[in-house]
């Protein structure tokens, strides 16, 4: 009887462990909209901080694991990206760079247009070289 209970308990634990492992293995990366933002910043300030000290800005806005930040800015352009995604370019205060925010096909509000001031959340991945855009991915509009 005791062996039977131990066996059943072992099978249940194995099933729960297996289900957790399967779920964890197939987990997809969350959009920023599903995360609580750690900071709020304007697009101009974000660009300025990356320009002033990239290492410090990486530590603050990129972090060691994915974190959402809330950004306020004016839309300079909306451009199509790969696989139905869209890049929203926020004015960075510099002519040759932008804060580039990538939205999935269904995450971008249809009403957004160039010249509009908006709030959004995104996962900051850092500032690029050559064209010093600050890049945010998995973005979500903030109403």
């Amino acid at each position: 009887m005791r062996t039977r209970i131990v066996l059943i308990a072992g099978v249940i634990i194995a099933l729960i462990g297996g289900a957790y492992a399967w779920k964890e293995y197939n987990r997809t990366a969350k959009d920023a909209g599903a995360m609580q933002e750690v900071l709020t910043v304007s697009a101009h300030e974000l660009q300025r901080e990356f320009r002033a000290n990239e290492q410090a800005a990486n530590a603050k806005y990129v972090g060691t694991t994915d974190q959402a930040i809330k950004v306020k800015g004016m839309i300079r352009a909306i451009e199509p990206a790969e696989e139905g995604r869209t890049n929203v370019l926020l004015d960075s205060g510099e002519e040759n760079s932008a804060v580039v925010c990538e939205f999935s096909a269904d995450a971008l509000p249809k009403s957004w247009a160039a010249g509009q001031n908006v709030f959004l959340k995104g996962i900051c991945t850092g500032v690029n070289d050559l064209i010093p855009d600050v890049i945010l991915v998995r973005c979500s509009a903030v109403e």
């Binding site: 990366a29 850092g126 690029n128 070289d129 050559l130 855009d133």
Partner: protein
């Protein structure tokens, strides 16, 4: 034309010619594929910046490691935290030269085989690379450059634990696609 205007022209003409030959993209696409009998791993980054000077052949790329997107979050986390150490090495870059195409070819539609030679810096380790690619000019003058080449993680000091070694290919296939526009 007075002397002052002539001097101004002498200064401006070379600048204009240089700008005409330079192309850029902020939405270049780089993807990689690892295939083993145990697991296939794919990731892509379409926020790659690149500048190409068609006159001199000088070619540069820059990409943020954290901008690579995977189908599975767990793979993305292991990629950033355990293998690429993207907090310490946030970018990968290429600096080199593209040859086999000139201003004449860029002026007419066609697909041209080109060679690329340069240095890739990945995970803080520089390695020379030599590969072939294509540059396609369409009827509207749009320019697309593509290339496929292998990278060995060990060549760049990327340590892969023995437990998962059989799940990651020894040579990762890297595909590059750049849609350039004039600067």
């Amino acid at each position: 034309m007075n002397l002052r205007s002539k001097f101004l022209l002498l200064f401006l003409i070379p600048l204009a010619l240089t700008a005409q030959d330079r192309y850029m993209t902020r939405t270049g696409h780089v993807e990689f594929h690892s295939s083993t009998p145990l697991e296939d791993i794919d990731a892509e980054n379409d926020k790659v910046t690149s500048v190409w000077d068609a006159a001199s052949g000088a070619l540069e790329f820059s990409m943020l490691i954290k901008a690579f997107a995977f189908e599975k979050a767990l793979m993305q986390e292991h990629f950033n935290e355990d293998y690429m150490e993207s907090t310490t090495f946030p970018k990968a870059t290429f600096k080199g030269k593209l040859s086999g195409i000139g201003a004449d070819e860029l002026a007419k539609a066609g697909t041209y085989i080109v060679s690329v030679v340069g240095t890739i810096t990945l995970h803080g380790v520089e390695k020379p690379v030599k590969t072939e690619g294509t540059v396609t000019v369409d009827a509207h003058g749009a320019i697309q450059a593509t290339s496929t080449f292998p990278i060995r993680p060990e060549d760049h000091g990327i340590r892969i634990p023995g437990l998962v070694r059989t799940k990651i290919a020894e040579a990762i296939e890297v595909k590059v696609r750049m849609d350039y526009r004039k600067m």
